[in-house]
Amino acid sequence: MSALRRRIRAANGEGRAALVAYLPVGYPSAPGSVAAMVASVEAGADVVEIGVPYSDPGMDGPVIQQAVDVAVRAGIGMRDVLTAVEAVAEAGAVPVVMSYWNPIERYGVDRFAADLAAAGGAGAITPDLIPDEAGPWLAASDAHDLDRVFLVAPSSTDARLRSTAAACRGFVYAASTMGVTGTRATVSDAAERLVARTRAAARDVPVCVGLGVSNADQAAEVAGFADGVIVGSAFVRALLDAGDERAGADAAGRLAGELAEGVRRRARVAP
């Protein structure tokens, strides 16, 4: 049974959406990023997306680029990521790794799956890997009983929504807008349509929404139609604006607390 799905459904059972917090490993430092992840968990994040730094993050906007650039230059690698996975599991949230494909391929797909499972990770989100190219990852994640999360987008055809959702385990990541990561003033109404279309295609797999959610009000709005709310750039922004590592972890915790209130604010429409 998928650890991600179990946790998201448990939140849904409380009449709310799950809160998924993204934080990249290695910003402001490896321990600093782990401290921010743990603070987010303690303040109410159900799932932590543990970001693997990558030199060419084509789906990310300037905020996340700025942070991962520091981590890349510091030489942060998969071993640091696995340390963060263990810390998040220890803190009581479900850890899921978020990685562009090349760092995983370079580490070795089977080795990655084995080490991730051993560290207590639930699985991985792969923003630039579509199921069509994912043969080795599908096999490795099956072999190690890991979740695998692929993305769907407003431009996805119904046929692709079906095939992508069928390849997903844990949840389906609905990229709410056409664009890169970053905070936005409003949540696109495309998000709600995409979630409805994905639900129709996915049936039983939870659908979480990412891209553009940054505050409690937006979280509450998305919680009204999605199974989980993913927040990334707003957490990274909080770290970038903080004076030091301690202040960064505190800021991440405060934001997680506000968002956790947001995902509980509005009565959730039963799926």
Binding site: M78, Y107, D128, E133, S156, R160, T164, G179
Partner: protein, 453 residues
């Protein structure tokens, strides 16, 4: 309208393609699509529209007409005997893509993709550019076809290639300097992809080389193969036989694929790609992706790339902005792995020596990119020797002209009025053509010319 009397397109409708890539864009284990899901619909649309377009007689006729009347095709081949005196007795023929409108081979691809843009009803094009040649070509085609145009260019490259920035702006394009990462071509591609995923409803990405996700490597190859299709015929007519080797510089690799493709079935013809060796492979400061890299995924495809143990892309280094790229097209990786093509590094110093030599012996100022291929021809010619009465025949793709590189060359050779630094490799002080200054160990390295210009 007599001017439209193009050659009958009957035998050209669907040119014979190599047996690769497969239907999903794989060249063996290379290629494919490693992209965010949001781009898949656009890539599918491009693939389908392109497959219909390439078999459409109206397209073939319009493309031929533009190539003839606008680009100035066919480009000639020029034998360069004075240059070849330094190549061990080999005969050297240059395929003159530098004589195309806009000054390089890039226009071949851009006209095709601009026609495709119009066909799928999009009104805006974006492009990445390194040396600026693809950006200039895209801005040119956009002006010609009434499309709005934005070009992403690494900030470092906007300084190295200021002339081309001005050209693009004159042509009505918006040029956006990219300040992320290494501020070169790789980062310009990242920014162009971010623009595309955001504006894909109105915007087509006119990709400049045979890299990127399917269908770009195959489509750009199809548009560039005219180089080799023409050259193969021209060499047969001029020399009476096929060349012994075909040489081209390889950054992303579009001019090389363009001239190689027609010769791929001719197994006796060696295909040699010259990569940018920068300061030398052993220094780590180079852009020799195949000779100095390993397979991985970058910019939407699996291919060789320069990467560290964490899978991070390593910044490349080359005096040539157009070759300063840590990736390479997947078809080159495939041709390398199946042994059909060979790839060799050429250092900055070797390229600049060949650059100066062609200027002095033949009155042709090549692009520094193309000078890497010229340097390769000097070496291969010496390896093959004169072979008595039957000299080796080398066909070199002169992919672009060097106007854009005059500042870089001036700094390298110390030609500026106020520049009293020692001249770099390849230019002797007695104003004669030089040979072998580098290999004899007499040359001093150029004064970091790429960075200064």
């Amino acid at each position: 309208m007599t001017s439209s009397a193009v050659q009958p397109p009957v035998d050209r409708l669907v040119p014979t393609r190599p047996g690769w890539p497969d239907a999903t864009g794989h060249f063996g284990v290379f290629g494919g699509r490693f992209v965010p899901e949001a781009l898949v619909a656009a890539l599918d649309e491009l693939t389908e529209a392109y497959e219909v377009m390439r078999a459409d007689p109206a397209f073939v006729e319009e493309f031929d007409r533009l190539q003839r009347d606008y680009t100035g095709r066919p480009s000639p081949i020029t034998e360069v005997p004075r240059f070849a005196e330094h190549a061990g007795g080999a005969r050297i023929l240059l395929k003159r893509e530098d004589l195309n409108h806009t000054g390089s081979h890039k226009i071949n691809n851009v006209l095709g993709q601009a026609l495709l843009t119009r066909r799928i009803g999009k009104t805006r094009v974006i492009a990445e550019t390194g040396a600026g040649q693809h950006g200039v070509a895209t801005a040119t085609a956009a002006a010609l076809m009434g499309l709005s145009c934005t070009v992403y260019m690494g900030e470092e490259d906007t300084r190295r290639q200021a002339l081309n920035v001005a050209r693009m702006r004159l042509l009505g394009a918006e040029v956006i300097p990219v300040t992320t990462g290494s501020r070169t071509l790789k980062d310009a591609i990242n920014e162009a992809f971010r623009d595309w995923v955001t504006n894909v409803e109105t915007t087509n990405y006119v990709f400049g080389t045979v890299a990127g996700p399917h269908p770009f490597p195959a489509m750009v190859r199809d548009f560039q193969r005219v180089i080799g299709d023409e050259a193969r015929q021209q060499v047969l007519e001029r020399v009476g036989r096929l060349p012994d080797a075909v040489l081209a510089c390889v950054g992303g690799g579009s001019n090389a694929i363009g001239i190689f493709t027609a010769f791929v079935p001719d197994e006796e013809v060696r295909l040699i790609g010259l990569e940018a060796g920068g300061d030398g492979l052993d220094t780590g400061r180079h852009a020799a992706t195949i000779t100095g890299g390993s397979p991985g995924v970058l910019h939407g495809a699996r291919s060789y790339l320069l990467q560290d143990e964490n899978g991070q892309t390593i910044e490349s280094h080359s005096i040539s902005a157009g070759l300063d790229y840590p990736g390479v097209g997947p078809e080159h990786s495939y041709l390398h792995d199946i042994g059909r093509a060979e790839y060799r590094p050429v250092t900055d110093a070797e390229a600049m020596e060949a650059f100066a030599l062609l200027c002095r012996t033949e009155g042709i100022i090549p692009a520094i990119e193309s000078a890497h291929a010229l340097a390769g021809a000097l070496t291969v010619g010496r390896e093959l020797g004169g072979r008595g009465g039957d000299p080796a025949v080398l066909l070199v793709n002169l992919s672009g002209r060097g106007d854009k590189d005059v500042e870089t060359a001036s700094a390298w050779f110390g030609l500026g009025d106020r520049d009293h630094s020692a001249p770099g490799a390849g230019l002797d002080e007695h104003q004669r053509a030089t040979e072998g200054a580098v290999t004899r160990g007499e040359a001093v390295p150029g004064p970091a010319a790429g960075q200064q210009a």
